[in-house]
């Protein structure tokens, strides 16, 4: 049979001589250099975070750095930074594809290559991948790459975030692999190409210079390592770094029962109309140490910019497998060694140009991850992970200040942050980036000081978390009031069903939704000097729904009997001063049987307003007495009533 590298002696079983023969250095050196590589990418990212001007970099951490080996090794990606996972999975291929198309033989010391084409390199056009070839004595030894979201890349929407763009020509400027720097000088025509097409260039230019400086930082630190340990040891350590997660993933796969596992997830609609839902289907075949992950049957590509590219889907696959199978070793290209992804071109998670536009690629990639979670749930048992809030429900507002200064929000005032699903380890957090991000949350102070926005509410919604022995995270509600006239794109594309799937006997989190409250004829917060109520259904009657399963009369969330309000009904919202957008994310999924949750933990949830007294009795079978609003520390458990309630539930076959 063909030798695919499977079945090699495990690293831990190698003798010192065998280790040295395989990796060109001893174990200690390989470990030092592997850690050194992580230090280098983290140092680069920290430096960019501290010096960036653009809020999407400074406040969101929307970038990632990686290290890859040379062409002779097929560009193994040994190291990824702790920032945006969505980037790092695709960057193995971004580096390979860009360098191969440009020609590795054409690269010289002092060059920086760049590429942003989603179909060549993953992600979307705003995410330019800058690649620095690092040489030692005229030998191209390695690549350091920094991919960073640029605030704008042209296209029909300022800052780009929209689910209704119809083709690649509307999404923005596509940059094939080309030089940004040559001989350590900026290539003038490359920068002009970008700045003649993109908005907000006064922010883009200094950030690009900072990115370049951080590539130089990475290069300098690598060259120090070449000098001290030698190039052979460096390259050996790259192989060692990718072999470790390859081995651990193979072991995790081997531990699964052989078989076929299937799952799916749905995207509500695209931006054309609400007549089509899009299904991501996955069939995972496990045999021995290998997995085949087949997306055949997945819906054709969407008609607007909610598609993902093939490398985004590969990222989602790898991240999902790391979560449920092998969470303890580093994520890099080695994680895929025993995994084959079967992916037809032209689906919603493998879009093709020009009619399969890719911009909100995570809205298709996250369902890929959730479909894999669902498929593997029966195989992984208690290691199953509940679904998270799923969709960024991204909001993008823009306008002009009275003095003529343009302003733009990017992913600050929608449903971009929210809850995770529970695991065997405990309750889920309620506020973070979704599973494929690892971002910062823009500070309220930063938003309010730089933009004509007041953040009115940013809080958890009671009784929205998926219940379970371990509770999912609660939905996040955010009210943002715009002080000037503005235009907005709002993209909550996953509200029809909750993304927060419960696992291992846990229940789903509640669906999210989005509304616009106009000050004129709706709810004028500034004039009333009061906030818009959250739980009173009547408060929603004067709203304009943006997306969600809502009661058509009150417009409050009604998951069981409500009707679907489609996010694309208004591709560009126009608001007056003091209008408010409200976003509620989906809740996170629960883990385990909720009726076995210790009553003391339910009491704490009631005290902290994750769970109401009514839901404690209904969903957990725990009877709490007292008033969580007026005397939260005076709440108590009625133990006799709880025993009776849980017995009643058991007798009814519900517990």
């Amino acid at each position: 049979m063909t030798d695919l590298g499977v079945g090699k002696t495990p690293i831990k079983e190698l003798t010192d001589a065998e280790f040295e023969a395989r990796y060109n250095c001893d174990r200690y050196t390989a470990t030092v250099l592997s850690n050194r590589m992580r230090y280098i990418v983290e140092h680069m990212c920290t430096n960019l975070l501290h010096h960036a001007f653009s809020l999407i970099l400074r406040d969101w951490y929307d970038f990632a750095a990686t290290i890859s080996g040379p062409a002779s090794m097929n560009y193994p990606m040994s190291t990824v930074s702790n920032s945006l996972v969505l980037f790092s999975g695709a960057m193995e291929h971004a580096v390979r594809n860009a360098v191969e198309e440009y020609g590795p033989e054409n690269l010289k010391p002092g060059d920086v290559l760049m590429v942003n084409d989603p179909y060549r390199a993953g992600n979307h056009v705003n995410d330019i991948c800058f690649i620095r070839p690092v040489f030692h004595d005229d030998q191209l030894v390695t690549f350091v790459a920094l991919r960073a979201h640029q605030l704008d890349m042209g296209g029909i929407v300022p800052a780009g975030f929209s689910a209704t763009k119809k083709d690649v020509y509307e999404t923005g400027l596509v940059i094939p692999p080309m030089l940004a720097y040559e001989n350590d000088q900026p290539v003038q025509h490359s920068f002009h190409l970008i700045f003649n097409n993109a908005r907000y260039c006064a922010l883009l230019l200094p950030d690009m210079i900072t990115i370049y400086q951080n590539l130089l930082l990475g290069e300098r630190l690598m060259k120090e390592s070449f000098e001290r340990y030698g190039v052979d040891a460096w390259l050996g350590a790259i192989n060692y770094s990718v072999d470790v997660p390859a081995e651990s993933m193979a072991a995790a796969i081997k531990a699964l029962p052989d078989g076929v596992y299937e799952g799916s997830d749905l995207v509500d609609a695209d931006g054309i109309d609400d007549t089509l839902e899009y299904e991501i289907k996955v069939k995972i075949t496990k045999a021995g140490e290998r997995l085949e992950v087949d997306f055949s049957g997945t819906s054709q590509q969407a008609r607007t910019s909610i598609n993902a590219g093939v490398f985004d889907t590969l990222t989602a696959t790898g991240v999902a497998l790391k979560y449920v199978l092998d969470p303890k070793t580093a994520f890099n290209s080695g994680a895929y060694r025993n995994v084959d992804v079967v992916l037809p071109g032209g689906t919603i998670c493998s879009a093709t140009p020009p009619d399969g536009p890719v911009f909100l690629y995570w809205e298709a990639a996250q369902p890929v991850l959730l479909a894999i979670f669902k498929a593997l749930e029966p195989a992984v048992g208690e290691n199953a992970v509940g679904g998270d809030y799923g969709s960024l429900s991204i909001h993008n507002g823009h306008g002009v200040l009275p003095d003529g200064t343009p302003w733009v929000t990017v992913a600050q005032c929608g449903g971009e942050h929210g809850p995770w699903g529970a695991t065997k380890s405990g309750d889920a957090d309620s506020y973070g980036g979704f599973y494929m991000a690892n971002n910062l949350d823009p500070a309220t102070e930063a938003i309010e000081s730089e933009l004509p926005i007041v953040v009115l509410r940013k809080e958890y919604v009671p009784d929205t978390a998926g219940v379970g022995y371990n509770r999912g995270g609660a939905s996040v509600l955010r009210d943002s009031m715009y002080l000037t006239e503005a235009h907005h794109t709002s993209s909550p594309v996953h509200t029809k069903r909750s993304s927060g799937a419960g696992v291992h006997g846990g229940k789903d989190g509640r669906n999210g939704a989005t509304w616009l409250f106009s000050a004129e004829g709706g709810f004028d917060v500034a004039q009333r000097k009061d906030l818009i109520p959250v739980l009173d259904p009547e408060a929603y009657r004067q709203s304009t729904p943006v997306s969600g399963m809502l009661d058509p009369d009150t417009k409050a969330i009604d998951v069981e009997k409500g009707e679907y309000f489609w996010f694309g009904a208004n591709p560009l919202w126009h608001t007056k001063s003091n209008d408010v957008f409200r976003y509620i994310t989906c809740g996170g999924g629960g883990w385990g049987n909720p009726y076995t949750r210790e009553p003391e933990r339910v009491l704490r949830d009631v005290r902290d307003e994750y769970v109401s007294i009514e839901a404690a009795a209904r969903d957990f079978g725990v009877i709490i007495t007292g008033d969580p609003q007026k005397d939260p520390e005076g709440l108590s458990i009625d133990e006799a009533a709880t025993d009776a309630r849980r017995a009643e539930l058991r007798n009814a076959g519900m517990a």
Partner: protein, 83 residues
């Protein structure tokens, strides 16, 4: 009264038959399995796109060859000859 939404049609990867002659030419040891057990199709994995031949009963890969960088994705500029 309007119908509810439908699910957009799905697409699938075609798994091609492989003949005994092809397997022999590639030097594949089939361990006695008939050629009908084997299929050829593209996969994306560590290192990029490959065309693989796998035994569909055991999922063992018996042949693996690098494919194009972008696999099934065609760029709008593919086929454009700029002299």
């Amino acid at each position: 009264m309007t119908d509810g939404p439908s699910v957009a049609p799905g697409l699938s990867v075609e798994r091609e038959d492989v003949s005994e002659d092809e397997l022999r030419e590639l030097g594949v040891d089939t361990s006695g399995a008939p050629a009908s057990d084997f299929k050829r199709y593209p996969v994306l994995s560590e290192g990029g796109w490959y065309i693989v031949i796998k035994n569909q009963k055991t999922m063992e890969t018996v042949h693996r060859k690098k494919w194009t960088l972008l696999g099934p994705i065609k760029l709008v500029t593919d086929g454009l000859h700029i002299a």
